[in-house]
């Protein structure tokens, strides 16, 4: 019988990791659903958010302010990238945008190394308090991270279902040409979606910064895990992304309780299994055939 206290802290750890992956993956998923691009540069906005959190923390001493600043800066950077690069290439096929976005990620990592240097930077956790759950001490900060990601899910859901812009985006995910035919400016929608995705990635970076060390390669390190979340959930599905993010989070943390080296391997085995059963992921639609 596994130790209950270990199990509970493991579950909480998995939930918080899953939340960070969810915030990152939702941007990728939205970009794929609407614009049919695979935007690897979301990982750059994640690093930007984390580094801004570090810098603002050093200057003002407030981590929450840093997370906010990181989110806004990431949104601005993504806006600039969208204007200068993606705006020209939306029409191209998916391989093309994938390589270009990788170029942006690579250049961005180089720029971050140039600005902040190679040394990993620590960011302190803003809330050190612990709370008792079933006799186990659980860090409050991790619970807050989970809460924020659930709020974001709720917000995105309300935005997509209750506002005109959101409804237009949802219609665009179904069929872009018809939306354009209705006289809606789809490129405006693309820009809005890209900025939302970029800011959420920045938010993920800011929240994750306190849990790990901030270093230039951090984007490339989570790259594989985030794509795994997106693949398991199904490209273009938000509900699927939420479900798969928490599945992957739990598989990582509970897998490491069973056998430590399993932590990084188990999610991939899960992914291969799911792809064998359902090649489009859990909630991926069959419509998006090549």
């Amino acid at each position: 019988m596994m130790n209950v206290q270990l199990l509970i802290s493991g579950v909480i750890f998995g939930l918080s990791i899953g939340s960070v992956y969810f915030l990152l993956a939702i941007g990728l998923s939205l970009c794929f659903g609407l614009m049919r691009i695979i935007s690897m540069d979301q990982l750059l906005y994640y690093s930007v958010g984390a580094y801004l959190t570090y810098t603002i923390h050093v200057v003002t001493g407030n981590t929450w302010l840093g997370v906010l600043g990181g989110m806004i800066t990431a949104g601005l950077v993504s806006f600039a990238v969208e204007r200068f690069v993606f705006f020209r290439i939306y029409e191209r096929d998916i391989t093309f945008t994938m390589i270009t976005s990788f170029g942006i990620l690579f250049a961005g990592v180089g720029a971050i190394k140039y600005i902040w240097g190679l040394i990993p930077r620590p960011v302190p956790i803003p809330i050190n308090a612990q709370v008792l759950i079933l006799g186990t001490e659980v860090p409050v900060y991790r619970l807050i991270v989970v809460g924020i990601s659930l709020l974001v899910y709720l917000g995105i859901w309300l935005f997509l279902n209750r506002t005109i812009t959101g409804k237009a985006i949802r219609a665009g995910i179904e069929d872009v040409e018809h939306v354009e035919g209705l006289g809606i400016n789809v490129y405006g929608l693309f820009t809005i979606t890209f900025i939302i995705a970029g800011s959420l990635s920045g938010l993920a970076g800011g929240l994750h910064a306190s849990l790990i060390m901030v270093d230039p390669q951090m984007g490339l390190e989570v790259l594989a895990f985030v794509f795994m979340v997106v693949i398991i959930g199904g490209l273009g599905s938000i509900k699927g992304t939420l479900a798969s993010a928490f599945i992957v989070g739990q598989v990582i943390s509970l897998g490491s309780l069973v056998y430590a080296p399993l932590a990084q391997m188990a999610p991939f085995a899960t992914m291969l299994l799911i792809l064998l059963i359902k090649p489009t992921g859990l909630y991926g639609s069959r419509l998006l055939k090549r």
Binding site: R36, I94, K113, P261, K289
Partner: protein, 328 residues
């Protein structure tokens, strides 16, 4: 005779220039270029001919490298047998994995390959640490026996060997372009439904292409292993996952000489730039974006029509390009 010469002249010219590289540049640099261009050839074939982009080539590189390393570290001493085993391992692994992977859509294919590279990285670094010695890697330079004609332990002999291997591979890929199979590969990229109507199996064509490309990559891996005399999980690190893709784009997608032009340019830039500034990624990334926005022809794709015009005095239609199709 003339026809044969026409078929070969391009390759021979390219390799004559390559031999000059050996004369003018330091040996480690030349060896690096040879291995890197073999490494890129597989990726270039997949991307340019079959339309599959793979961010997981390091996975197959590691398969070849570790097959060679296990043989040379634990069992034998002959580097040639090690290289053969590396190719064999590449064939077997890609034949098994290919059956699952080539059925996926091209976007999923890229991501699943990336995931495979990460799996193999952790497999080699953590799970099999007892056999692979984890991050310390396997050192077997002293285990390799010297072989009679070409002694692979010596860098200068190694260059001749890798040169010949690259030449053979080039001829093979050029031959493949002229066959019906090569035409089928292009067809499965441009219009798979039509190919199906003609009675071909898309799955089998892609599966074959996957095996050919990744056996080439595994060969490059075992060449790395023999050349360096040492293998560590670092060769399959996720941060290096896109190297072959970058080189393919740099050289020119789908062109026959793209891989070597790209390999020279990439290795050269890396060596030159890291002397001046510590972060060459910024530069490589910007070059990549520029090439993509400027029409994704790459260095060779831009040079080829100009050179042909200058030497052959006639206009030639540009080679097979990934001419960004509008999505339907």
């Amino acid at each position: 005779m003339v026809k044969v010469f026409k078929w070969w002249w391009g390759i021979l010219l390219a390799f004559f220039l390559l031999a000059l590289v050996r004369v003018f540049l330091p040996l480690p640099f030349a060896n690096e270029i040879m291995i890197f261009s073999i490494y890129t050839m597989g990726c270039s074939f997949l991307l340019g001919r079959v339309g599959f982009i793979s961010f997981g080539q390091p996975a197959y590189l590691a398969v070849g490298a570790y097959a060679t390393a296990f043989y040379l570290f634990y069992f034998g001493t002959n580097p040639y047998i090690g290289i053969l085993l590396g190719i064999l391992a590449g064939l077997v692994v890609s034949a098994i994995i290919g059956t699952f992977f080539v059925r996926l859509r091209s976007d999923y294919f890229a991501l699943v390959n990336l995931a495979l590279a990460v799996i193999i990285f952790y497999l080699m670094e953590k799970v099999l640490a007892k056999i692979t010695h984890g991050d310390n890697g396997l050192w077997f330079l002293a285990n390799m026996s010297s072989t009679p004609v070409l002694d692979l332990g010596k860098p200068s002999h190694f260059f001749v060997f890798s040169f010949l291997v690259a030449l053979a591979l080039w001829a093979f890929y050029k031959y493949l372009d002229d066959t019906i199979y090569g035409a089928c590969c292009l067809a499965t990229k441009t219009n798979e439904d039509k190919l199906k109507f003609l009675g071909y199996s898309n799955f089998r064509i892609r599966w074959m292409a996957f095996i050919i490309a990744n056996a080439t990559t595994a060969l490059a891996g075992s060449l790395y292993a023999v050349y360096l005399g040492f293998v560590s999980p670092a060769i399959t690190h996720p941060a290096r996952a896109a190297d072959p893709v970058v080189v393919t784009i740099l050289g020119g997608v789908g062109t026959l000489y793209g891989p070597i032009v790209g390999a020279i340019a990439y290795t050269g830039m890396k060596d030159l730039l890291s002397g001046f500034i510590a972060n060459w990624e910024l530069f490589i990334g910007l070059v990549l974006i520029f090439i993509m926005l400027a029409g994704e022809k790459g260095i060779w794709g831009t040079l080829e029509p100009i050179l042909k015009k200058a030497f052959l005095k006639k206009n030639v239609s540009p080679g097979v390009q990934d001419s960004g199709e509008k999505r339907g």
